[in-house]
Structure formats: C-alpha cells, structure tokens
Subunit: 384 residues, 2 copies
C-alpha cells in the first residue's frame, strides 16, 4: 500500500490529457511579441502554409498594416523604430483572415473586437502597468436599479487600505463609451492600474471608483447575463435617450449605502468617455447638487438632439443652475483629430460666452483609448 511512486510533471499532465483536450492545447511555440531592450518589438507567427501575413496594430503608421517575412515557416516583423511607451493593440492578418496572435494570451475585448495587447514601459505608460505598489480591490457587484427595473452589474474599485482603514472615501463615477460596458474602463482603460499607481505616488487621493454599464437595456456585459454568449454590438436600444441618466441616482444610492463614502457633493466626481462624456455632462446638470467634479473625455456632445427625454431639454437653463453652484472642476478633454472636436469647440464657446469656468486639455490624435487613458491620468490627480 502506498508504495508506488508517482512522478507528476507538467509533461506528464499534458501528455496524458484526452486527445480532444489535446487538440485544444497544441500551441504556438514561437515568442511573440518580443519586446527588445531598445523598445523595438518583434512579432512572430508559425504558419508554414500561409502566403501573406501582416500585423495590424495601433502602433503602425496609416494604414496600420505591416508585412511579415517568412523563413522556415516562421513569419516575422520587427518595428524599424523603437515604440513610444504605451499600451498597444494588434492582430495578425493571415491571407486576409484577421486572427489573434496564438503565442500571446494577453487579449482584451473592445465591443466586438478581441485584440492582443502589449505594453512598452516608460513615461506615462508606467501608470498603465502593474507595479509593485499596494493594490486596490476590483469587484463585480450587482446593484438594484428600481428606476431601470432591474439588477445591474458594475465594477467597483476600492483603494488599497480601504478594508482596514475605517475611513470614508470620495467616489469617482467613471462611464464608458458606446458599445462598451462595465468592464471597459478596468480592461482597456487600465483604470485599476492608473488608480493604484497615482495613489501610491501620492498624486491622487485614495478614492472609490465606480464603473457602471451605460447601456440601460443591458443588465451587464455580453456573456454576463441570462441572454448567454451574445455577440456584442454598438447599436443597443435605449442608448443616449435619457433612461441611463434618469436612473443614475440609483447607482449613487447603492454605493453610498454599501461603501464607506463621503456622502456630499465635495466627495463625488463623474466623468466619461464619448457616450460616457455625454452621460456625465447630462447627469451632472440634471442633478446639480450631486457632483463637484465633472470630466468630459472626447464627449459625444450632441446639441439640439431630437430626443424627447426631459434630460436633454432646457440645456442652457440647467447649465446656468449647475454653474451657479460653482462646481470645483469642470474638465473638458479632446483630441485634435477627433470627429467630435468641433462639437466640443462649440460647447466650449457656449461656456465661454456664459462665463462658465472650465479647464481644457487638448491632445493629439482622435477617438481612441490611448487618449482616454491619458485623460484619466490627467483628471484623477485633480479630484477631491
């Protein structure tokens, strides 16, 4: 009894898996991407039968593709120049078929696209990486929204030390764009890492960050509801028609009843990207006593919108009330090539004409996550 010696190794484990399982486990053996010390990056794909292999990435100049070259079945491409520090996304295109890099398990979904990611360290991008600093907790929580008539899923970040401090914390409500969901800011947005790092560096106050789902017809992100593994889509019913804004106090109520929060205007901020900027703009003026800090990141400002909701009516009257209450910060950011640039200029002109104070941050490029991460790193240190 108990005399047999079993040697268990990873090799034994994989070798003895059932064949059906084995078929799923055979993986690529190349290293990709390989980030060199000089910040150039090599991409590799083992595809002996392919005729043409390209990499599509947001680090490449327009049109955003580069050809890989084949040698003994392995296709390879090295960036000619070092890449600037940043979180980058890419895919391969094999004979016209867009695929993920099978050698890189690190992938992030953005609406209905799944892209591989890699990070070039340095500069601002060091705020996007996991560093050896105290980490906050990230929770997926279901809150009750009586206004929406459903339980809804959200992501809540509580800063390192929250569990033990006994203190009350300010709350930052952070909203996603069209097609996004409650996972967007904590994944491509790197909100968790940005908050951990800014707080550890003493550049931001410890705060709770609440990342909601801005699609009021959805309980939760695709795959997280009883609808099953649905295909994510941009076009949802009840998007930017007032329902999300009207139901927003349910979120605040849940958060303030379940977390140790500062329950006053000075302790609340709201910001969002694109559609979320539109939401933040309308929510903050609809409830002018709720938020002392407002951030519009590439906001989808849509004046004279032909939507019946009371939320969008009497814009100028509501802005007058909001600014009469002197928000601590009204912050607008946009990229110079953003298709919403002009709409944001027009909106700033309105604020200027009325003498409503705001801060403005203009970046290069357009309607992309790179900008939204930058805006988050700029906005958070100004809060509370």
């Amino acid at each position: 009894m108990m005399k047999r010696i079993f040697l268990l190794s990873a090799l034994v484990l994989t070798a003895l898996l059932a064949p059906a399982q084995q078929a799923l486990w055979e993986g690529a053996q190349v290293i990709s991407p390989e980030i060199h010390a000089n910040r150039t990056v090599t991409f590799r794909l083992h595809a002996p039968k392919a005729v043409k292999v390209q990499v599509a990435g947001d680090f490449l100049p327009e049109p955003g593709y580069a050809d890989l070259v084949e040698r003994e079945g392995v296709w390879e491409y090295t960036t000619p120049q070092p890449l600037e520090p940043e979180l980058y996304s890419y895919n391969f295109v094999v004979d016209g078929l867009k695929i993920n890099d099978p050698a890189n398990v690190h992938q992030i979904r953005d609406v209905r696209s799944v892209t591989n990611v890699f990070l070039i360290d340095g500069g601002r991008a060091d705020l996007y990486r996991v560093n050896d600093v105290p980490h906050g907790s990230v929770s997926k929580v279901w809150y009750d929204s009586p206004t929406a008539g459903m339980k809804r899923r959200m992501t809540v970040y509580t800063p390192a030390g929250y569990e033990d401090s006994g203190k009350r914390y300010p709350v930052f409500y952070l909203l996603h764009g069209m097609g996004g969901d409650e996972n967007a800011w904590s994944e491509l947005g790197r909100a968790t890492q940005i908050l951990d790092n800014l707080i550890a560096q003493g550049k931001a106050k410890p705060m709770i960050v609440v990342m909601t789902n801005g699609n009021i017809s959805q309980e939760a992100a695709p795959g997280e509801t009883s609808a099953g593994y649905v295909v994510p889509t941009f076009q949802l019913p009840q998007t930017m028609e007032g329902s999300f804004e009207m139901a927003f106090p349910d979120v605040v109520k849940y958060v303030e009843n379940h977390y140790r929060t500062l329950k006053n205007k000075h302790g609340r901020a709201i910001a969002g990207l694109s559609m979320g900027g539109f939401h933040a703009m309308h929510i903050s003026k609809q409830y002018p006593d709720l938020f002392d800090y407002v951030g519009l990141f590439s906001a989808a400002i849509l004046p004279d919108r032909q939507v019946a909701s009371a939320v969008y009516q009497d814009l100028e009257t509501k802005l007058k009330v909001q600014f009469a209450k002197r928000p601590a910060l009204y912050w607008i950011a946009i990229g110079r090539t953003d298709f919403l640039y002009q709409a944001n200029c027009d909106y700033r002109k309105l604020l200027d004409e009325k003498g409503y104070p705001y801060e403005y941050y203009e970046s290069g490029e357009g309607h992309i996550w790179k900008n939204w991460r930058i805006y988050l790193t700029e906005f958070v240190p100004k809060l509370f």
Copy 2:
C-alpha cells in the same frame, strides 16, 4: 451657437475611427457558432484563401477534429448529432495554424491556451449559465501573506444578499490545478454561476467562496503582477513543495478578519482540483482543526513524494489525527480514464484499511474541466 445638429450613430463612430484603429476593428461577418434549436451547432469561418479548415473541440470524438467545407469563401461545419448540454471549448485550425474563432468574442484562457467557448443549455449545464437569479459579487482582492513574504491576489465570491444581511457566512476555499491561478475556478470552472444557481434553487447554503493562487512563487495570475504580460507556464518554482500549504493559514486569517464569517471548523470547507486536490488533502491534514469539509477533485495524490517539506511527512500519522476529529465530509471524486485514477484507488484503499470514512464519486472521462464543474455541483450542496 449650438445650432449644429450632430447625428451620432454607431456607423459614424466606427467610420471615423483612425485607420490604424480601423485595422483592428474589421471583423468577421459570419455567425459562429450558431446553436440550433435541436442542439446541433454550426461553425463558420470566412477564409476564402484557406486550403483546409478544421474545428478542434472537446465535443468531438477522438482525435477531436472535424473538417469544415467551403462555399463562396465561407467554411462551415455542423455537428451531425445534437450536443449534450455542456460548456464546450473549441478553436479553428486553418492550414495547420490554430486560431480563435474571430466571430466569437467569448474566450477563456486555460494556462497558456485561449479557447472559444459556447454553452448548450439544459440539464446540469443550466447551472453553468447565467440565469435570472440573484447574483453574488466577485472580487479580486490582495491579501497579505507574511509566510510567503508578499501580497497575493485572490478571487472572493460573496453570495447575493451578503452586503445587506448582517449575517455571518461559512467559507469554502476552492483551489485550482497546476498551471492555473486565482482566475481559473471563476472562469472555466463557472464557480460563480454554479454558486449563484445552487443557492437560488435552495440546493446550497449561501457561502463565501475563496479562490486562491496556488503557485506560491506568483503574486497573481500572468499579466496581473509587476512581471508584466508574461507567458503562462505549467512549470513554476515552488509548486507542490510545501510552501503553499504552510502559508495557507494566512489566507484564512485574512478572510476571517475581512469578511463576516463563521470562525470555526464547521464553517470551513476546502477542495481543489488536481494539484489543488493535493493541496486540499495536505492542508486539511496539516491543520486538522481548520476544515470540516474536504473535497479532492481528480486529486494529484503523490504518495512517497521525495520532497523535504514537513507538510508531506508522516502521512499516516496525520491522517489518523485528522480522521480522529471526524470531519463532517471527506469527498473524493475522479474520472474513470483519469491518469490519476489508480493513485486515487490506492489512496482510497488506504482510507478503507484504516476505516476512515469518506464519500466517493466516480465519473466518466478524465482530467478535464467538464469533470471539475460536475464535482463542484455535487460537492457544494453537501456543505454546511
């Protein structure tokens, strides 16, 4: 001022993205997988230039591959028979290159493989789907492990109602296998859905579930540490050499200091799969006063292991102490074709010879997630 009408639609949004971004957004237009009413499933891939396309899946008979047939550039395969209710994994193989299905964003990583998933409803698999029931919260939390000398990440499930009840809850510690991490049970293991559903049906008591990282040299899953986007691996230093088991009381201490728990043996359970079953076996006998419920799922039982750790010494003496304290449940489960089947038989023989009571559950098939999900659904209703 404010006279321009901006019509923002999803089309405008996508059309105006920068070209580099656009390259990442071009997606497959086919529907795949399509689950038909009769539970057959059709897989599709748009790949006009491919010569041979296969699907590799755990629903296919050995060797686990099936050929797709091409018509006008779209490759297609429909299962000849309805599939039994289950969570299935698959990939495509295009001219020898294993890829994910670009039309299906629902993917789960298992060690270093990323596979697409789909779910056939019905039977036990209804426990794996998100149903319209109250949902618990799932949190990624960093706990302090003085024994390991680091902060470590874990997944904590708190049942629906936890936030408001004011009650104390029992705690189930659920451990992963070799190469896995603190994400494994909540992703491929469907632990969140299984707990939500069993609790909603009244078949399991509301409980907290703590899913640790069993690789003591790791702070957290690949990509979640300051090491960056590393390639996951089976072979880690300090695996199954006693350190994780010795540091386990740090986990219990953190949980009991930060959650409303029943702080006694009757309120604690521990189970794990494969390496996690090995861990659960050794932890429960090393600390015989901690856990009243023990589950070994396809446990990597390795008698006479040539490892110096005190944890593995005096097996029979420690088992004698453990069973003298009459654990409420000692549960062993294994699949008939598991490569660890004989080791588990031998271990059961030892328990039988000593007269130590245990419950035994034998399933078909082998060392696969399908079995571990089944074992979880069988084990959880027996707890507390």
